[in-house]
């Protein structure tokens, strides 16, 4: 019997500030699961998430997000904001150039031009605190057709290497 979690594409990058995965969303699925399981970053900092539309990476100030940072040895932290040009602090905080854990996020309604695009994320990363992870949600408050996503950094920081796998939930 065929399954309903279908592999769409894998993408990799090295020494890139903004890692874009293009043309992975279509009218074939309404929900997507994305797994980032092999990555290192040049600096100890949070990456951001942006969506890609027909004009490229969308950095308009329409992103709202809320994230809970789970730390093993101190009080959990919170990050939230509205009307930002990306979803910051929602993917997990990682040490520079150390092997990382994993990030998984779900994207809802990206290709529906009449709906906002939503996401939810869970991650487990290797940071200066032991066993840190993030649970987060976000929305881009634009009813538009989203075809891909980008993971990047401010300040010229880069992904040393990164691989993302995209699946559709049919």
């Amino acid at each position: 019997m065929a399954g309903n979690l279908e592999f769409i594409k894998s993408a990799s990058g090295t020494s890139v500030s903004e890692f874009s995965v293009t043309d992975c969303f279509s009218d074939k699925y309404d929900v997507y699961k994305i797994y980032v399981s092999d990555y290192k970053q040049s600096h100890t900092v949070y990456p951001y998430l942006r969506f890609i539309n027909s004009s490229g990476v969308d950095s308009s100030s329409n992103y709202d997000y809320a994230g809970l940072q789970l730390w093993a040895n101190t009080t959990f932290g919170q990050n939230k904001n509205t009307n930002q040009n990306a979803m910051y602090d929602v993917l997990g905080y990682s040490n520079a150039n150390e092997p990382q854990g994993g990030i998984t996020f779900d994207i809802f309604n990206p290709f529906d031009s009449s709906s906002y695009t939503f996401m939810k994320c869970q991650s487990a990363t290797n940071s200066y605190q032991p066993a840190v992870g993030v649970k987060s949600i976000g929305v881009q408050k634009v009813a538009q057709q989203v075809t891909g996503f980008a993971l990047g950094f401010l300040g010229g920081y880069t992904w040393t290497n990164i691989t993302a796998n995209v699946f559709g939930v049919k």
Partner: protein, 174 residues
């Protein structure tokens, strides 16, 4: 190779309905764990919330035996928690829905459904839009404290109807 996420049932709502049920006579008891996908759910009135109950023998179990605990992430207000015991339904969204763009999206996992000697459990991760505000979502879980088999889930609104959206039930094959 066969896939491991198998679609069992789906309801696509395009005109207002009071309830949506997944499973029931369409239930497939072959699985230990089930996944429910909620996509782009909208209400026909504002400031409403969506709730769920389990199905037992294909009928919603309305007994006051639901316990749940939720942690709410939200972009525009402080995060908060809610927990209840002995309720007749599970609150997994708060009262947030609207008629346009203020949709509910998320994933619910169901556990122990087919075991008549165990309680039925669920976890939920929701990314929704608090009507007139911003993104918000409950992360949590629930249990029906009745040792019985369950065979599905029913969704309904706190007021008004479900206007649109897609509800899909999957089994996770071993």
């Amino acid at each position: 190779m066969a896939g491991s996420l198998i679609k069992i049932d789906e309801e696509i709502v395009t005109s207002a309905v009071a309830t949506v049920e997944l499973g029931g006579t369409n239930w497939d008891s072959s699985y230990d764990v089930y996944m429910v996908k909620l996509n782009d759910l909208l209400a026909d009135s504002t400031s409403a919330g969506i709730r769920y109950r389990f199905l037992a023998s294909s009928s919603p179990d309305t007994s006051a035996n639901y316990d749940y605990a939720q942690y709410r992430l939200q972009a525009q207000s402080a995060f908060d928690t809610t927990g209840q015991t002995n309720k007749t339904e599970v609150n997994f969204t708060g009262t947030i829905m609207g008629t346009t763009n203020a949709s509910v999206n998320g994933i619910i996992y169901l556990f122990n459904s087919n075991n008549p000697s165990e309680y039925s459990f669920a976890t939920n991760e929701i990314s929704a839009f608090y009507y007139g505000q911003s993104v918000a979502g409950y992360q949590g879980g629930a249990v029906l404290t009745v040792a019985q088999a369950t065979n599905g889930i029913q969704f309904f609104m706190t007021s008004g109807n479900i206007a649109s959206g897609t509800f899909t039930l999957y089994g996770l094959a071993k």
